[in-house]
Assembly symmetry: none
Amino acid sequence: MSQESDIAIDAAAPPADGSSQGGGPYTEAPVPSGQRAPSQDRGQRRVDSILDAAAALFAEQGVDAVSVNAIAQRAGSSVGSLYHFFPNKDAIVEALAARYCREMVDLNIALLRPEMVTAPLDAVLSGVVEGFMHYHTSNPAYDEVYQAALRTSGGHQSPVFQQVQQSIRATVDEYLSRRMPTMPSEERGYYAMTSVAAVHWLIAEATLRDPIERPGRMRHLKEMLVRYFEPAEREYGVVRVPAVS
Amino acid sequence: MSQESDIAIDAAAPPADGSSQGGGPYTEAPVPSGQRAPSQDRGQRRVDSILDAAAALFAEQGVDAVSVNAIAQRAGSSVGSLYHFFPNKDAIVEALAARYCREMVDLNIALLRPEMVTAPLDAVLSGVVEGFMHYHTSNPAYDEVYQAALRTSGGHQSPVFQQVQQSIRATVDEYLSRRMPTMPSEERGYYAMTSVAAVHWLIAEATLRDPIERPGRMRHLKEMLVRYFEPAEREYGVVRVPAVS
Amino acid sequence: MSQESDIAIDAAAPPADGSSQGGGPYTEAPVPSGQRAPSQDRGQRRVDSILDAAAALFAEQGVDAVSVNAIAQRAGSSVGSLYHFFPNKDAIVEALAARYCREMVDLNIALLRPEMVTAPLDAVLSGVVEGFMHYHTSNPAYDEVYQAALRTSGGHQSPVFQQVQQSIRATVDEYLSRRMPTMPSEERGYYAMTSVAAVHWLIAEATLRDPIERPGRMRHLKEMLVRYFEPAEREYGVVRVPAVS
Amino acid sequence: MSQESDIAIDAAAPPADGSSQGGGPYTEAPVPSGQRAPSQDRGQRRVDSILDAAAALFAEQGVDAVSVNAIAQRAGSSVGSLYHFFPNKDAIVEALAARYCREMVDLNIALLRPEMVTAPLDAVLSGVVEGFMHYHTSNPAYDEVYQAALRTSGGHQSPVFQQVQQSIRATVDEYLSRRMPTMPSEERGYYAMTSVAAVHWLIAEATLRDPIERPGRMRHLKEMLVRYFEPAEREYGVVRVPAVS
DNA sequence: CATGAATGAGTGTTCATTCAT
DNA sequence: AATGAATGAACACTCATTCAT
């Protein structure tokens, strides 16, 4: 787990073209040319089953406590086969992280889609909180992987989550720039990172605690966010017409 | 604003008096007779140096990546000696967690001491944020240990942090009950856990990121908390006279 | 006298056919399909070489003094490989015990085969003593393993040797029931366990002592056994016709 | 346990003179000169309590499984104190062995005292079997220590039990020489070692097995010994008058 | 591509022994 | 003498990774 993976994962940013050139065997870029499709499909299925197995085990036992053999076994595969797709254990964690990142980015884009610019603040934030809450509960390994990626990268800049943070922040930033065009850029950046962090971590914590508290926690999280943004909306004003994407 | 946090930080520092010279190593049983004080001091010093070494290594590499031998070596000790004081590696993590918990609780109590009940909201929250920020930067292993304790305990209820959560929440809850006596108890509970979680996690994240962002992040965290509590203060009112402890 | 023991000894040698090629390592599950025979042969060879190495070292140094690494090294293997076949050190001891037990039972059956029912007492006992003596000298670790198994099992009922004791006693018991059909069952049981114990332990001790004494010791062991059984033969009579198996 | 003890224990052979010179602190030679008696008594008491503790733990867990610390603790002492009396763990085992040897020899001498020369064979053997049986059940660690001593000494000649074997065999041999003066010396030696071994091991085994079988086993052991010696008595005759010691 | 036996450095832990107090 | 903290070599065992089949 400690050595650097020698494969750069570029999944958080959607590939510019549809060709699969340059991607490792574990990217999900669609295959336009038919010649190697079946083999790649089979490979993709294997990769997915390995990642699913890894996610399940990570959620149960934590990343460091799960052995590569255990992942292979749970995936109905063998170690050797697994090492055909991933150069080392870290790469599995990173690939999983990349998958989560992609999904997170997609989720974010979906929740903050252009027509939401004119939606009432509480509706937008409620959607965001519910959406991420749902994602977290559906992907219980998310936080384990997130933490592991932070740890692996020496604590500062995970090669994967770095991108997702950037990406999500950029999405939020852009959304805010459309909703409150007069807000200064730097200020907007802090609004983005503060709200993103609040949503991320309070939801992550809520999923660990007594589920009975969860609705109350979510209500207060929404409320906190609404109150956080309200003064900004009063100060900078909100657009009336949705921006044209 | 910040002079108050300085006061608070002093309270969080390990007390100079003998309050932590427990009976056996790693227990806190009171010392019945004074005869064995020197040996116990030596033991306590050893225990402390082990915990310090562990904390330093945990912060650098993460809990799971640090070997017991490495801790002993860094502590200027030997494995065998280490195992005199701790039955296994987990016990080291737990002891460190316990130390952090104690300090966290103390810090919290100091920051929310009775005379702060009538202080302006932003002063109180600023002190809290600065105080915890300072604690986090001074104890970079805090979060590693916290996470490890969560993982070890199967994710749900760490035997140590469970207490600190309880304790901190109770302290905040009590503070709020004095500041806004008419706020319903259940609501108060959610205010407490939401604000505690926000402070904890946003500060933890801020320490991992680019330090240049930190002041902006802290400013927004304070602002978010102020805005979160302001409506409650307007609704339930704030006492004018500090409660008698 | 001794030509019979030679016959018996051949029976105790590990069978040349595939009777011991069990399914998994160290289990004896039958092999459902033949497809994986080569790999299983390799595994069986490894298992055997590990057990041989263990036996040699146990005989030299005693079970507790031999490290798992030493066994692996002597077997020309590695620890990891060893742990592929045995879950822990005890399992090696037990597997060796099981091998010894199987061979002991086979030897016993061969020595007391049905046609020996009408053989002269001294011929039978001479064959038994010579046979077991030969087995002990060929397997110098036998007693170390036997003792270790007794120790491991808390002293009372080793899961492996328990069976061999039962089995050997039953074989002797059945032989006696055919040779002296009128002897009461309970009495027969004591004759069986006493003679089995005498053979076992006196031979075990003889192999530890000065080899020069050994022939004399064996002569006296046989004599003691003959004299032990003679009165019983006079009292209960001996059959004239061998039983049909 | 594996290095050679550098202290020779000479306890099996009664000291030629009563002075304690040359004995380690853990011999039991009586102290004639009064000057150091109290200190030596205290030391002797400590030594005894250590040996008692060791014996108890050895019987429970086996020699190799018992740590020196455990012995010290059970003896109400400390490791350091223990190491004042014994140079290493092996020395404890050997000292215990020496104690057992002395007692065994004494027991043997008592059971085969001169006036037993004319006693009926079955009475003598019954006494011997009962006596040793009683000794074994009263000293459950005996066999553990015996085996450990055999192992330690490379399997062939334990520095302690070697002597006791010699001594016991000599006692029996001498008894036989008085009971059957015309028996050839070499033959007598084999009678002695065979009967001693039979008594030793069959009783040792009987104490491990189901206690309900024990009376039957003892009855058959006596019977086997009686039948073993009877022909010799018929051949060589038995003296009528007890020898004068 | 697939397999899983093989590897061996590395881990947590124990324990006989020493030595400052 | 007595204590028990300190030591560190050694142990049983794990697991990421390789490679012959």
